[in-house]
Amino acid sequence: MEINVKKKPDLEFQAFYVFFLIASIQIGVGILGVPRIVYLEAEHDGWISILLSYFYIVLVVWTMIYILRQYKNADILGIQVDLFGKWIGKILGTIYLIYFTIGLLSILITYIEVVKVYIFPDMDNYILGGLLLILAIYTVLGGIRIVVGVCFIFFFLTQWVHLLLIQPILNFDILHFQPVLKASFNEIVSGAKSTSYTMMGFELLFFIYPFIQNKQKTNKATQTAIGFSAAKTLVLTVVAIGYFNASQLTRREWPVLDLYKLQTFSFVERFDYVVVAEWMMVVIPNIVIFMWVITYGAKRLFQISQKTTLYIVAIILFICIILISDHFFIHKIIDLSSAIGLWIVYVYPFLLLPWVWIKNRSRKRKGNEKHAKA
């Protein structure tokens, strides 16, 4: 396996699009429930938890980019093979792929559950699951350029939803945040930990890095993206805590959707239906990116053609979607996904860093020896 990725130049995209890729993948279904999850841990100081987790992610992203910059044009799969040898490298790569598959599954089933709760209680899972997977296949067949395009366009198509927050913001109650820092430091940290599922997704950078045209701008684009996602999460959480009281917030599974529910207009009586349906446009980029990463990763690791992986993964996911409809089981999958993610996404880059240093040093030494001999 090549450590650096060789790809056709027309597959490259500008660093500017990295913002949309990362921002799209970070904001998916997780954000719908995040105010509640954070509140359960850190109560009304949850916003501090989100800031905390943002600062942590800034560090992680910085580390990731540092690691990537040590190579010319490599992705994490290549780097792992370079550092740990062929076997361990590939096993680690496979773990990434499994993690992505579980992540994709959790997104799909969560969205289907939301639709079932809010719009069609008697809908079968396979209908929406099948439709979404067909769309994902159709998109991924177009390759990375189309995937990036979907993220880019759908990002703009979904931003209007925030206008619906006006009503809850008008009924905002600042007293809900007092006294500040009531929660202990531990509670705030565990609140930050609980946002991990929502904020995940920037690990994608490890995979798309070789495709970026102007790599020197990657850091700026990625940092803006995580800043944007964190700000969005923060705003939604602050509005939710400000609007709902403690008992409401802890009882509601998806407080963000309930926030959107409040706005009424003369021409549309209930906006929650529109928002739940519209949220599909938030979910589709997620599905598509994950799907692409899985197919691409399988090709890098095992030289399986992307089309084969695409169809096989879609069929596996489809079967899983049919089988899983129990609410608590869905939560188990989300928990599993966030548990794996916590290690892979938030801790692993730091573990990788010393290895990269060691490797670099030995490489330099070898280079020096060669020089000396010459």
Binding site: F120, P179, F244
Partner: protein, 379 residues
Amino acid sequence: MQKLKIFPLLALFTFLAACVQTQELETLGIINARGVDLYEESSDELLETTLIVFQFDIQHSAMTNTIIERGKTIKGARKRAGYHMSYNLVPGQISVEMFGRELAERGLSSYLNGLVRDARDNETAYFAITDSTAKEVLTAGQENVAINIGQYLQNLIEKEMNDGRLPETSITHFDHMHTEIGIDPVLPIIDLVNNKPTLTGLAVFQEDKYVDRISMKDALLVNLMKKTLKDTRIEITLPAKPFAPYIQFDPKVDVEEISLMLTILKGKSKISLTDKENLQYETDINLRMNLNEISRSIKINEKNFKLLEKEIEKSLKKDYETLLNKLQEINSDVIGYGKYYAATLREKDLTNEEWREKFPEISVKYNVKVKIVNHGTIM
């Protein structure tokens, strides 16, 4: 390749059609207003619900139908109402939910729970209380109001709310208020006056239980504490004595009171907890008003204008103090002083019971400031 993409889609479409339950408009009996009363003849029939239902039929020109049915829960009663209707009863368009007083005295939270749990229910509908039974108000109202009673009530509440005379009363808001620690909810009371449903006051709750009622004027005072008012009309009665020298035309006629009609251009309030230990509060109220009407003709100049403002301030202050006394007496904190207290507690959370003990002891100092900006064309 293209065929591969289209075929699964087509195949899906064909059996998609049967998979999701349709709710075709003409097959639905759309509940527009619902009244719930206590009814206790047997334990099986705890509640009596009155449903005002839209149903669409070519033969009948009258579309609104009233259905009265009993059941253990609201949803159960709805199910039983469905037994004698060819339409599918659906609750997604309820605009007003009305409760009889007896039921409200027992507490509304269990009914609320069901409404909030079902994501398909309309959370922006309004709650209202009636002193008689909801059944009476809805059925009599349906007969005596030209338009549909559900829409009538909705428009009535909405209008008063937009004008600032009525605090927010939607389901979400009620749910918010009754679960929030340190504040109690209020709901409008709608009674039959001359057989017409009329807003007669504001119901005051202790958590989810009805305890007492206050007048519509007090409702405005409560609302002023909850939000900033704009363009709200208010009637204030002042003692006539201080103005005696300025009364024009027939100063000999002896009157005790002068009534003023004023528009609040902007009314703001600010509550602060000055002494946490002794529970002393200070409430600043700032009002910019327009003078619209005076029951007696008074000569207006700069000096007595100030006097007028002072008198209004005094009168409002008195009103607030009376209101607070009444609220403390019935132990219901609809203004939300408890929230300010809770916001200062660092070690533990405030509980409702705690606040019920403390609320009657609080003392509030009202600082009312009135500025009359405009008084029309007459001096």
